[in-house]
Structure formats: C-alpha cells, structure tokens
Amino acid sequence: MSLGSGPPSGSLAGGPSEHTPQASDLGSAKADEAARRAYRRERQEGRIPAEVGPRSTPGRLRTLAVLCLGAALCMLAVSWTYVGQARDGLAVVGEEEGPRALASADLYQALADMDTQVAALVLVDGAGEDSGADREELLATYEDRRADANAALLQAGQLAMGDEEAERTVTETLDDLGRYEQLAGEVVLLSGQNGDTAPQGTFGGEGPSEADVVELYREAAELMSDELLPKAYNITLESGSVVRAAQEDSRAELARGQVLVVATGILLAATLALLQVYMRVKFRRRVSPPIAGAVLVAVLLALGVVNSLGNASQGLTEAKERDFDSAMAVAQARAIGANAHGDQSRFLLDTERADTYEQLYLEQAQSVVFVPGGSIQGYARTGEAVIADHLGEQVDGDVLAEAEEALEEGMLGLLGGETRGEEDGNGDTGSQAGVDAALAAYTELLAADARMREAAGSPQGAVRELLRGEDSVAGTYARYDEAMAEVAAMHRESFHANVETAAAGLGPWNWLLPAGTAAIVALVLAGVRPRLAEYTGNR
C-alpha cells in the first residue's frame, strides 16, 4: 500500500469507529478494527516508525522545495566565503607581506654600502689629492644609505610582528646599527685628522697615524661583517619565509574550498533531482523545465566557482614562485655584490688582512655567479668565458670546456641561476634581457677588479683603479648595480601585475553568485508553484 495516497486519514489512535456498522460492512468493520488494533500494538512496540515529514503531497512538495532552497543558500554561503578567502590571500601576499619582504631585502644592501663608503673615505683620506673621489660625496652617500637601512629595517620590523624570535633579531639589529654608526663617526673623524696635516699638539704632539685609523675601522668593519650583515641577511630570509607560509596556507585553504563547493554543489543537484523525480512520479510529468534549468544553473555555478578558486590559487603560486622568488634572489645577489664591493676596498685598505678579504670577495662573487675557480684570476677568466658564451659571444674553447664540465646544468648562483629560467622556458623575455645586461656589466666589473689587484703594489694607483673614472671598480660596480636594480624592479612589477590579474578574476562573483542563486530560487519556485496550485486546485 502506498502511503499518502487516498484521503487524509483520520486519527488512528483509538476512539470508537466513526460510522455505525451497517449490515453490509459488518465484516469489514471488524477487520478494520482488528487492523487498527494491530497497528496500534505495533506502533506501541516501536516496530513501525512514525511517519517522517508531512504526509500530504503539497506538504512533501513544499518540504522538498525548501530543502532545495536550503541547499542553494548553503552553496552560496560556502562559495562566497571561499571567494572572499581567495581575495584575502591574494591581498595579504600581494599587497602586504610580499612588498614588505622585498623592501626588507634592501637592508643588507644598504648596510654593506654604508661600510663601503667608510672604507673608501679612509682610502681617499690616506691617498691624498689624486684619489679621484670626493670626500663629501662619500659622506652624503653614507647618509643616504643609512636612511635606506632604517627604512628597510622598519619594513622588516612590521613583518616580524607577532613572531617573537624575529622581533628580537630586529631589535638587536637596531642596537648594533646604533653602535656601528657611532664607530663609523669616530673613524671618519680620525681619518680626516690623519688626512689633514695634523696640527702639532693634538694627542700629545702626534696626529693619529694611518695604522690607528685602520685599527679603528677594523673594529667597525668587524661589527658590520660579524653581527650586522648576518642578522640583516637572516631577517630577509625570514621575511621570505613568512610570504611562503602565507602562500602555502592560502593554497591549502582554497583547495579545501574547492572540495566544499563541489560537495555543496552535489548536494544541491541531488535535492533538485529528488524534487524532479518526486514530481515526475506524483504528477506523471516527464521533466519539469524550470527544475531542469535550476539543475543546470547549479552545476554551472559550482563549476565556475571551483574553476575560479583554482585559477586564483594558481595565480598566487605562480606570482610567488616566478616573480617573488626571482625578485628576492636578485635582491640577495645585489646585497652580496654590495658586500663584495666593500671587500674590494678593504683589500686595499687593510693590507694585513688582504688575503682574507681577497678570499671573502671570491666566495661572495661565487655566490652571485658561480663558476668553479680556485683563485680570483681563475674565477675571472672562467667567469668571463661562461658569461660570454651565454651571451652568444666568441669564447676560448679550452677555458669554456673546463667550466662546462662542472656546470652541466647551466650557470649557478643567485644571479647565474636566473638564466636557467630562460632555458626552462619559464622566464619572460623582458627580465631575461635584464639579466643578460647585468651579466655583461658583471664581466666588466671582474675586469676592473683584476686591474685594481694588479695595481695593488702602488697604493695611489690602486686607489685610482678603485675609485676614479667609469672603468674603475666603483664605476663598473655602479653600472652593474643599476642593471640589477632594473631586473629587480621588473620582477616586482610582474609580481604586482600577476597578483592583480588573479584578484580581478574573482571580481565577477560579487554579482554572479547572488544572481545565480536568485535564479535557482526563482526556477525552483516556478517549477513547484504550478504543481502546488494544480494539486490544491484539484481538491
């Protein structure tokens, strides 16, 4: 017996039968009574479950329709939430933490440059007239770099907020910076006194000697190289890891979102299908067009949102892996290059430790563009060959063959590694042209460095090679740094653009989601109402 067919049953729960028994139905009345008693017994003993839900067709129809609307709203809620999450993730990485991390990468650069200016200043004071650089200019650059360092440290500090370890590192760096500035100030003063013909009567009749100045400078330089620079570099690395973690979290969140949207979408489609089938069975219509339409809209909506979330996640990942990581690598290469440049000055200035500074310079150069080479001369020769080959110029075969053996997969190093993007087809032509320009400038820098070291025997000549003219170490370094800055800027712009594009893709859902859900609601109502009307009208 199909439940629900037939007239609305009266109460079955006991009470005398409602009609007086007639002769014709005496037997059936007894049977009815027996059936009712049996049914009550079974009900009392719990073997027949109470009926679920409304027992009338309009009631059931309404219930199903409400279920559909509920499922639609559920999908709307989930989709809305996760589209919002996607937007937030992009904003946090693309507009807050990403740019801050990139700004903090300038810290090392600024600090290293500060020390380079001080070293150059001491050299200039010691060399006398013909050094080729202006003391005032060096001091002005020092001041600029100090301001840059403070600004970068501020950005790093903001990124570090909430992370106790990172905050302490930033605080310690601030303290060290203060100490360094004090020392540097003393060095500049002392060096100036050494440079002038010191009036008799100061310091007991003798002016400060060059050795005194170098000794004091060594203290400052050690503070910079042993305390400040490592902390600054580590701060930048930590900033990068904050961005990476944020991007990973966002990606996981969006993956979860996709699954949930699919789940609610399936739920919605299922309830709509249930409604459709019920109506088909009850009212013997094949297909209700509005309900079918609702199913279609639901499926399209769910698929659309899932696709959008996937695109946003991918856009964020690409922006982080292609642009942000490259920008950080280039920033680090610039920073290390700045310190290596300082080592070039210190090589001339602190002759007692010339060996160490030469070694340090070589190692830093190798982390920027790695080619195997035990000595500076070997490195310069091999480096020039490898870079020239990359740029498509003529090269000495033997030197190149040696290098290629060790560099099977292409150039290594923070800058060298950026060329691999081109070979893998990942990089865009704009940034590759920039990288090539930086490499060409780097070759010039290596050549200028070689000239300076050759002239190391004569102090004045060496200082000239260091500081004077466009082909000096300082000149070529400035061009190299400029080329690197351009590459970094290109990556930053690309990062920003890609994040914006990904965010724009999420924009339409602001109106599409409510509109789509409203459409589903309308279609469900449109499908159900005529049936309801038809049914109650038939009474």
Partner: protein, 304 residues
C-alpha cells in the same frame, strides 16, 4: 515510495563525496616535511673527535651531536625520538636524496653502498660544508658554524706563523678533502701534498715527523689535537671560511626554515646565563685548544 527509495542513493552519494574530499586532501598534502614526523634520524660523523665520534653502538658525542640534539629539541622532538647514525662524507647527499629522487639520479652519485647507514636519514649534521654544487641536490639550513681553515704543526715547530710559511713544506690531507688544494692552488704556495685515507692517519704522520703540517677546518684540527695536546700546535692564522650546514631533503623547505629558527635561538644570549647555548657548546668541546671561536649567529644560506 520514492522518498525511502531515494534516501539510500542519496546517502551513498554523500558518503562518496566525503570520502573523495578526504582522499583529495590527503593527496594534496606535501611530500612530507620533517616537521610532520614523530621521530627523527640524524646523520653525524663517527670518526671525528670533538665533532662526531661514536663512543658505543648508536651513541655519539661531539659538537655536531650537541647541535643536532639542540635543533631536534627546538623542533619538538623528545630525546627518545631522536636516533643518530653514522654518515660518512661520501654518502651525505645520497641519504638525503634517497626518499625523493629518481633512481637514475641516485645512480649518478656513484656511492659505495657499503658506507650507507641502512636507515632513512632525515637530517645530516656532519661537518657538512655548504657549496653551490651541493645546494643543487640538498637543502641546507644554517650554517650553524663558520669554521675556518687553519694549520696544525708539531709542537716543536715554532716558526710557521701563517700559510705563506708553508712554502716548500709537506702537507697531508684526508681522501676526498679539498683543504690542501686551497693552499697550493688558491694561495699559490708551493707545498707538497700527501694523501691518506683519514685525517687520523695524517695526525699520526705529523706526530712521527714524516710530514710538516696538516691543514683543514680548525674545528676538526682542534678535536684531533686535543687527543694529544702537547704534541701539536695550532698556528691560529685562519684563511678561509667553511660553513657547516644542516643537510635536509631538497623538498623540505618548511623544515629548513624551522631549523634556521632553531639555530638563531641557539646563538641567542640567554639573560640568566650570560652566554648563548652555542657559546657553551663550543666552550665545552674546544675551549682547551685555544681556538678563537665565533659566537655570533652566522649568515644563513637560505632555503630554496
């Protein structure tokens, strides 16, 4: 009636979706960071006194071991969940690549399989110098210490003061090491090189007098010299930087970053003690050598 007939399929769909979701999120998880593990296996040296020396089966001691224990504790591992195994220099990359790399890549490393520890190693703290070439294969956290190359001579030799004084001398280096080349090639000092299997043998020859000097990382030299302090003298004129890193799997960026934080904590001066854990560890093992120790946090390599 349609309602009850449909409930079962509906339930089936619901369960399937839930199962799919669970399965998908499990697949989407990373290839497994060290941070998700309950136990950790750390590879150390077994034959370098002061740094990594096996004192009994499975028990090691030395500066590297102390550093590894500190890092494991910072990462949240209990001491009983930490296992140490010996990992010789030649197989350090292999053990870290074993889990994730393709068989051809492992073949290309061409290692002597008898040197492998036979268990999956998660972290290597074994005087593992960071180089650009190694960075292509593994991830390096740290460095946790910047050693420098120095020279060890016989205690009777009072004339050798720096690397240039080695002109014409006979140097000894362990197999697979690069230290002596640094002097001859990079500094251009004309010295003769003799190679032995291990640095322990070099020290024996130095004690005998058949070679003039041994040159390698100053921590390694200090550890050996401590075994017989009156026989040797550290010249204390360091001339290169060897950065000892913590080797990790290439894919484990999150673990690498966390180890970096642990190393930063290791160098943080504790207010009550007045020293940092790193300083105490270095003093424990190397104070007697008279070696100048670095107690500021080194510049990290960065996790790829």
């Amino acid at each position: 009636m349609p309602t009850s007939r449909l409930i079962r399929p509906l339930l089936a769909v619901g369960t399937a979706t839930a199962a799919l979701a669970a399965g998908c999120s499990a697949l989407a998880a990373d290839a497994g960071s060290i941070l998700d593990q309950d136990t950790v296996t750390i590879g150390v040296k077994g034959d370098q006194p002061g740094l990594g020396l096996e004192v009994s089966d499975g028990r090691f001691e030395g500066f590297d071991v102390d550093v590894a224990e500190f890092i494991a504790a910072e990462l949240g591992f209990e001491p009983e969940d930490v296992e140490f195994v010996e990992v010789p220099s030649a197989v350090r990359e292999y053990v870290l690549m074993e889990r994730d790399a393709e068989p051809e890549e492992l073949e290309a490393l061409d290692v002597d399989e008898s040197l492998l520890p036979g268990v999956e190693v998660d972290m290597v703290v074994a005087t593992y110098s960071i180089t650009a070439a190694r960075r292509q294969l593994v991830n390096f956290a740290g460095p946790y210490y910047g050693a420098q190359q120095d020279i060890l001579v016989s205690a009777e030799d009072t004339e050798t003061e720096n690397v240039r004084d080695l002109e014409g001398a006979t140097l000894c280096q362990g197999a697979g090491s690069n230290s002596a080349n640094r002097i001859v090639e990079e500094r251009g000092v004309g010295a003769e090189i003799e190679e032995t299997d291990t640095y322990a043998e070099c020290l024996d020859r130095l004690a005998e007098g058949s070679i003039d000097a041994v040159s390698t990382d100053n921590l390694i030299l200090a550890g050996f010299a401590l075994e017989d302090p009156d026989a040797f003298r550290m010249v204390n004129a360091p001339f290169t930087a060897e950065r000892y890193g913590v080797g990790l799997r290439k894919s484990d960026v999150a673990g690498c970053e966390e180890v970096n934080r642990a190393i930063t904590a290791m160098y943080r001066v504790e207010e009550e003690e007045g020293t940092s854990p790193a300083e105490r560890m270095l003093e424990d093992w190397f104070a007697e050598t008279g070696l100048e120790l670095n107690t500021s946090v080194p510049q990290f390599e960065g996790c790829a």
